[in-house]
Amino acid sequence: MTRVRADDLSSVPGDSRPLRQEERRELHALRLRGPRREEWIRGRVAIRRAVARWLPQASSYRVHTEPSGAPSVVGVDCTISLSHDGRWFAVALAPTRDLRIGIDLCRRVHVNRLAPILRRFTRRGVQLDPVVQWAALECVLKMRGLGITALVGSDATVRRAGHRALVRGIGPDATLHVIDRPEFVVVWGSENSR
């Protein structure tokens, strides 16, 4: 079962104290600066909180950064996905390595930026609430390890049905979950990795 949570982490200090030694080494190697550095640290805090909440038996683990930049958890069998936007951080966690999961959190403040982006980069343009559409597309890209350039010229369709979104045209059809909040939208999904 995949679990999802979004939190405002603006009150979490953006310094490296919460990190473990290996995570500090990764942070140093990435050469992140200023707000981007704080964002990265808070992302690790969000993942650590998710593991502690949903896998309380896990005692020795660390968050690793894959070459793609995506985080993973080493030392406990689980799959995670992380998304952040401003002060909001969303984590999806499945207690298995047999799933691919994706999550995207998109603040509604972007709505006027997203419409021109969708019109320019996808063949079908704006099909529904641009924030939901964008988060659904990003979620599928993330779940399948694709970069944003995969969207360029894409013929993908996104249809909303209640708390679900159906994405067609980026590989197999994907049925995703949509969580609406006044400040943001979270879309997440999972599929078998084999």
């Binding site: 600066r33 200023g34 981007r36 401003g86 972007h110 930026r113 021109p116 320019r120 350039t149 969207l151």
Partner: protein, 102 residues
């Protein structure tokens, strides 16, 4: 790569940011620094900047050009090179460009 193009990119990126204070480092960061290391540079930001670049420079950013600019992390330098290459192609094509080649 011209300093003028890099300077215009800095302005466009600041304008595309929902929180300009978070993007302030782009005003002075090295042109070869991955943007994702100096500021939160999300997909929305990245593609928003490309839309702004197309409007500002009158070019059409193709998928191969985008892939080249984003490979290994977008930098001001890579984006400026992309702009200048696409401007050069546009100039060679003349006034009737191939808008279908996106």
């Amino acid at each position: 790569m011209t300093a003028a193009v890099v300077g215009q990119l800095r302005t466009l990126i600041l304008a595309a940011s929902p929180e300009p204070a978070q993007a302030a480092a782009v005003r002075s960061c090295p042109a070869n620094a991955p943007l994702d290391t100096v500021m939160p540079f999300s997909s929305v930001m990245a593609l928003g900047v490309i839309v702004a670049v197309e409007d500002r420079f009158g070019i059409v950013v193709t998928r191969p050009a985008l892939q080249a600019a984003f490979a290994g992390g977008a930098t001001l330098e890579k984006l400026a090179v992309m702009i200048e290459q696409l401007r050069g192609e546009r100039a060679r094509e003349g006034p009737i460009g191939d808008a279908g080649s996106r």
